[in-house]
């Protein structure tokens, strides 16, 4: 099942963060109970009763009391501050590009072999995932192996975006001109929902992506086929699909790459047939795919993809195109 909640963590980073959230919640519930109790008592006890006209004693203050309610909050804050600072440093130790020392450590460390490095590029309004060590460019779906540390380096090509997979890790911003990083791990296989959390334009709310945690063997297969797809995988089967490839090459390939052929303007299509959604949010089916190609702007305003009407791609050609992209798979 797809998972989109910080309250249901599926990895160590989100767990650490939830622990902090719960710790602070317990301390704060204590504070709330104390204040609410005094508040309720005071309102009930000292409300004006009918006929009461006495003038209350004009108290100036009380040193001892004021000392107590200065010191107790300080102690409570220390209980929160110490674990927060510790977790903060643990989270920052990602081995990302912004941290030169750790980068060297990882390069030299033998364990570094186990780290998967992914550059997550935010674009208006889609995500590009580049695996620099594996020579992979993937769009929208970020595949990761289970039980492996993943370092995500965050970049942006236009405006600021923010990379958030609530069930695996809190967010970090994709800032143009700056490379941030975070790390995450997914012990269990699963599909984890990701979202852009920094206002980035009209279709900000539709800038969703998925993190797919698969077992390491499956990941290796995926990685190999993504980097250098077998002929078997890329060759379309059947007459219609072959025709579809022609349509694709005439219309789509300038922006959408399959394997190492094609442009980088839009999401990579090498494993398009394995997506579960189109454009990050539409259910994957033929109807939605055609609607999307015919008029992307009405579904996701201000995105870069041009519309292809019947004069550019006829209905027959469209059927062929759909047949072809449905077959673009790397995991079977």
């Amino acid at each position: 099942m797809e998972n989109l909640s910080a309250l249901d963590p599926r990895g160590p980073v989100a767990e650490m963060q939830l622990d902090l959230i719960m710790l602070s919640l317990y301390v704060m519930i204590f504070v709330i109970i104390v204040v609410f109790a005094i508040f309720t008592y005071v309102l009930v006890k000292f409300r004006e009763k009918p006929g009461d006209t006495h003038i209350p004693k004009q108290v100036h203050g009380n040193r001892a009391l004021e000392f107590i309610w200065t010191v107790i909050p300080i102690i409570l804050l220390l209980i929160l501050a110490v674990p927060n600072v510790m977790t903060q440093f643990t989270l920052a130790d990602s081995g990302g590009a912004d941290d030169d020392v750790d980068q060297e450590l990882i390069d030299e460390d033998e364990e570094a072999e186990d780290v998967v490095r992914i550059e997550a590029h935010g674009h208006q309004f889609w995500w590009e995932f580049i695996y620099p060590d594996l020579d992979i460019n993937a769009g929208q779906d970020m595949y990761i192996p289970t039980d492996t540390r993943v370092v995500v380096e965050l970049e942006a090509s236009d405006v600021i975006h923010s990379f958030w997979v609530p069930a695996l890790a809190g967010k970090t911003d994709n800032v143009p001109g700056i490379t941030n990083s975070l790390w995450l791990e997914a012990p269990e296989e699963g599909v984890y929902y990701g979202k852009c959390t920094e206002l980035c334009g009209a279709s900000h709310w539709l800038m969703d992506f998925k993190v797919l945690a698969v077992d390491p063997d499956t990941f290796d297969t995926w990685a190999e086929n993504m980097a250098e797809p077998d002929e078997e995988l890329t060759e379309p089967e059947g007459e219609v699909a072959v025709e579809g490839r022609e349509v694709f090459e005439n219309n789509c390939i300038q922006c959408h790459a399959v394997g190492d052929e094609g442009g980088p303007v839009g999401p990579n299509f090498t494993n398009f047939g394995e997506r579960t959604v189109i454009a990050g949010f539409l259910d994957y089916n033929e109807e939605n795919l055609v609607d999307w190609i015919r008029d992307p702007d009405s579904l996701k305003p201000d995105n870069e993809m041009p519309a292809f009407d019947e004069n550019t791609i006829s209905d027959d050609e469209m059927d062929a195109l759909v047949e072809y992209v449905n077959e673009l798979k790397v995991l079977e």
């Binding site: 309250l7 108290v59 929160l80 912004d98 965050l154 809190g170 001109g177 979202k195 709310w205």
Partner: protein
Amino acid sequence: MSNSTAASKKSVLYDWLTTVDHKKIGIMYFFGGLFFFTIAGIEAMLMRIQLMFPEMGFVGEQTFNELLTMHGTTMLFLAAMPLFFAFMNFVVPLQIGARDVAFPFINSLGLWLFIFGGIILNISWMTGGGPDAGWTAYTPLSTTSGGHGVDYYVMGLQVAGAGTLMSAINFLVTIVNMRAPGMSMMRMPLFTWTTFVTSMLILFAFPALTIGLLLIMLDRIFGGAFFDVALGGNVVIYQHLFWIFGHPEVYILILPAFGIFSEVIPTFAKKRLFGYTAMVFATMIIGFLGFMVWAHHMFTVGMGPVANAIFAVATMAIAVPTGIKIFNWLLTLWGGRIKFTTANLFALAFIPSFVLGGVTGVQLAMSAADYQFHDTYFVVAHFHYVIIGGSVLGIFSATFYWWPKMFGYRLSETLGKWFFWLFLIGFHLTFFVQHFLGLMGMPRRVGSYLDGQGLNEMNFISSMGAFLMGFAFILLVINVLVSRKNTDNVQDPWDGRTLEWATTSPVQEYNFAQTPLVRDLDAFWYEKMEGDGRMKAAEPLDDIHMPNGSILPIFISLGFSILAFGVIYSQWWLMIVGGVFMFSMMFIRSIKEDHGYHIPVSEIKKEKGEG
């Protein structure tokens, strides 16, 4: 020598347009603020309709972004701050026993700059769409946004911001120089104290905003490259500039409310404010720390663990002085005789509401956990809890509390209590569930959300709460209209403690016939308990010198606005026309000798009923 009847020869409209009387200016701030509060409230309603159901098509994505930008900008700059300025203007000179503020002309100029700035900002709706980059206007989204929306945002805020800055300086000078004899700093009412600290915050915070907006303007209109990464710019610098202003702004919005509660609670508990000195110092510490924590808005921007840890701990520290205040209010109530008037209900409801907003503030301060909270509905819930639970409840409390003094009639308590309960229930209904929405994966500033992600029910509840708040607000408007007959018992209806209750309602032009002599904190209460219930005079009855009104503030603001439109549409000739007009008006102001006028003793005696 002319006399006070000079003004009444002119039409009522001209009198209000040219007035430099702090009370009339306060009233105009009030209605200006209320007008923009209504507009921003309608914008909020439109957003809550759009979010009532998943994937609603009520307003488009682009319009939604414009609505969220204008809702935030209008509420903060054109509603909450002017409403506080209304009470500061009206009440502070009275509370310190002064006849007016130090610079009446500048006071008027500040008002008109705010009104013109607000109009400029809202004209954007009619000229192709409002600003759409959020009230924070983060670069490069704001510098690359199409149309003129963001230009309106930049210039509207520059015009309004100039007014805010000069009003703040005016309050500082007034409070330092114009206190009545005997009113030392440590005998000032808490509302005057918070006005003083708030003005200090404005003085240091607003220039950072001015610069941030200026850089956006240079980038957008004159091809600057401060925030263009391709040309070597840095987009994060803007966030620092914005939050160096933006975080103190949060305290600019809450400290005056703290001041209001510190007036209302002692009055209706019939007790002196508990721990006055601690309250004053807590206010100053909050103001100071407010400048030290801006980067907690930027934990996810990649500042590194050291900066995050420092700003996290600094932010948590603010909870200490805030806690001191909460407990001091509770202890003020302790042992008192609490009267549940509408004004006091708003003040009392503030305590639990604000504590709920405050504790989430501490949670957000935890930088490592903030990676989950940041930019989600959890944050939306948090800041609405502190701004509505703090500032807005404060504004409503002040409205019911000072209304008789400002307008000479009492608002209906029955309607007021209906308004209070519906508004309070609506408020908690709207925002409590949003904490959970955020943690369940709903980012803020989203034009909609997908079906089947578990977000439907709580969004629906939230929208219902918002409609309830909107409905409650209508009751306030009705209350204002139908209560006009309650003109009895308006001079000191609440058995007040401070100087504003010692003068007439509505207050005469010169505030006090004779400057009062202050003998203790809660000066008026002291005279009621220890004296004969009337303020002692600190001066003999004499002619009172008053400043003349002037139309120039409107003309100066008009010139500045024309210049602003020149900038928005990159028209040099228009900029020059506006600039020349503005500076000519300022020149006239500088060379024209105006000695004001005197109100003769005979007339003062007549008004006192002694003549």
